[in-house]
Symmetry: C2
């Protein structure tokens, strides 16, 4: 019963999203939109597979997938769209179906989610329509999360924090980074995570200064920073959290850098607001790190939206002129990286609610010395 | 010392690959090729990051990445290319660099690895060159593995088998599929896997009939099939293995279906040869399953190449006219799926050597009853 109710609620939400997209299509002076981006298709239909095309016009919603997903498409998409299961090529089926719909002249396609090879198909097999590139029509809708989405992101944040709590007591000097990843990922699964939104980053010692390290065979040593950056996934929705620890006792210098990053995180996570420009949010943390004299060592942007993708709109960055929407969920992840010495990053997920920013990742931010 | 030697050997192999690509560029009547596919860029340069452009002409090799990868690009790419680190847009840097190279008129781009949005850049900022779409120029080179690549795939296959051996004794009725994934993925990390080439599939009971299930909260019950499909990654190279178990005692019907799939796997894995067409390789297993009366329940193709990507050329499928190259590595993965009842798949990785097919995944194929 509970499952059926949740599915109905999901379908209601998706009907609203399709309606919002139809408005956007009309405002863009298009008769219809061909969707090829899988996260956008999942947002609109609930389909979680890896092969699909979706076509939306004022009158019709066509969903195409291949035979492997027949059962799954029926369960996930249901009555929201006219579902077509195809044994050979989704594109051939599309070219067979589109001419049966009337009133279509100017059609949009997703410029950021179609490879040149498939774009050529529009010019070759789709000559009876005029094709116009669109950007971010669905992504813009996705920025503002509804109650169901917020609940799932909250569960993903809880799963990540539960996993980290279960992991920390198992960490000690002598473990390899890969072994740390193994413990953490197992705890993520035990906490109910359906997947890993991005490759787990376990970066120790001088490797913690590489903002995009993955995990290596390096063994943890006393005195190392240990940076863990990872996420959980619940019904397709992601969380993304970073904590930095010290193996053994922290040096004064490590503690000093850590406290600057922690304070930058606190300042931004408590002051960020819906309605603010992305660049002003970025400045909340960056200005503080600059005042502390470490500006050049904070080389990346402050954060990004999360949802069905672990990196989505809006951006919190020096160059982000866009406004942070109400009910968006964003990361706040200041860092200081000193090449050859090490780095610290403290990252939380924050819901920009009408009543102010709501921290979703509740794992403590105080410096923890391990082992 | 050993590490430096391995790196030198990798650089030598990559120099040869770049030379082979230069020949392919010349044969395609191009003056140069812009590469945007990350697996292709990794194959040619060793770069393992997620942001790069590569330009190759007879005279020049330009590699562009962003500031996050400065250290990594120096280590991985080294002297193989002229390395440019960019703080803002890789594309702007490309448009600044390309005009400094002489003799370039007709340039290729990778049609399957460039989104329409980026393709537009070629038409807008790149008007001084003629741009031609190319398909599979590098993918074709990647089909035939060199000794270094074969050694890495073998290590990835060993890691997957080691992990499965360590996992099997820990499995029992009552565990959730997610918990099984957690145990297996931790064992993969302990075995040295740097990542997960694709989302781990743990499918039990009737879910084993879904060829593309991931892992759910469903709990294992006595009498269930338990299908595990997963891989390991070593220095970017993948393995891909599937085994199907029974929780408790197998029924006669389960055993019958299992033995048909196992025999189909054995027939294909022992008879597949370099020089065979992909469709003839597919038939090695499919004909047997059809003779046993289960043809319609084997809905997918027999296999695919593996390497830097878990799905790459060549294909082993009913419609695959291409020939399997010497020293390619392919999966052999027949299956029988009965909706609502369950499914069996047995998948191995096979190196198509001159002396015949070499099984890389050594985990037993006999039916194992667990718990």
């Amino acid at each position: 019963m509970a499952e059926a109710t949740a599915r109905d609620a999901g379908r209601d939400a998706r009907s609203l999203r399709l309606e919002a997209l139809r408005n956007a299509i009309e405002q863009a002076h298009l008769d219809g939109l061909l969707l090829t981006g899988l996260a956008n298709i999942r947002y609109l239909t609930g389909f979680s597979g890896t092969s699909a095309l979706l076509f939306v016009s004022q009158r019709d919603t066509l969903f195409l997938t291949d035979f492997r997903y027949e059962t799954q498409a029926a369960e996930e998409v249901g009555e929201l769209a006219q579902v077509h299961i195809e044994a050979q090529s989704l594109w051939s089926r599309l070219w067979a179906l589109l001419p049966t719909l009337s009133g279509l002249e100017v059609l949009g396609f997703e410029s950021a989610h179609i490879e040149h090879r498939d774009f050529q198909r529009l010019l070759e097999a789709g000559t009876r329509w005029q094709w116009r590139p669109t950007v971010d029509l669905v992504e813009t809708l996705r920025e503002q999360k509804d109650a169901g989405e917020l609940a799932l992101i909250r569960r993903a944040a809880d799963a990540a924090c539960d996993a980290l709590e279960a992991t920390v007591p198992q960490l000690h000097a002598g473990m390899s980074e890969l072994a740390v990843a193994g413990v953490l990922e197992r705890c993520l699964r035990e906490a109910g995570s359906e997947g890993f939104p991005f490759p787990t980053i376990v970066a120790s010692g001088e490797r913690s200064a590489l903002p995009h390290a993955r995990s290596s065979s390096r063994e943890l040593r006393r005195g190392d920073f240990l940076l863990l950056d990872f996420g959980a996934e619940v019904s397709g929705y992601c969380s993304d959290i970073t904590r930095t620890f010290v193996i053994g006792r922290a040096s004064d210098e490590q503690r000093e850098i850590y406290e600057i990053v922690r304070e930058a995180n606190r300042l931004a996570a408590s002051s960020v607001r819906a309605g603010m420009k992305g660049r002003d949010a970025d400045a909340l943390a960056r200005d503080y790190i600059e005042r502390c004299g470490h500006g050049p060592l904070f080389g990346h942007s402050l954060g990004h939206g999360i949802g069905l993708e672990v990196h989505e709109a809006p951006r919190l960055a020096r160059t982000a002129e866009g406004v942070l929407p109400l009910d968006s969920v964003v990361t706040i992840e200041p860092g200081i990286y000193r090449p050859g010495w090490g780095g610290v990053r403290v990252e939380d997920d924050v819901h920009l609610a009408a009543r102010g920013p709501q921290l979703l990742t509740r794992f403590p931010r105080e410096l923890i010395e391990l082992g």
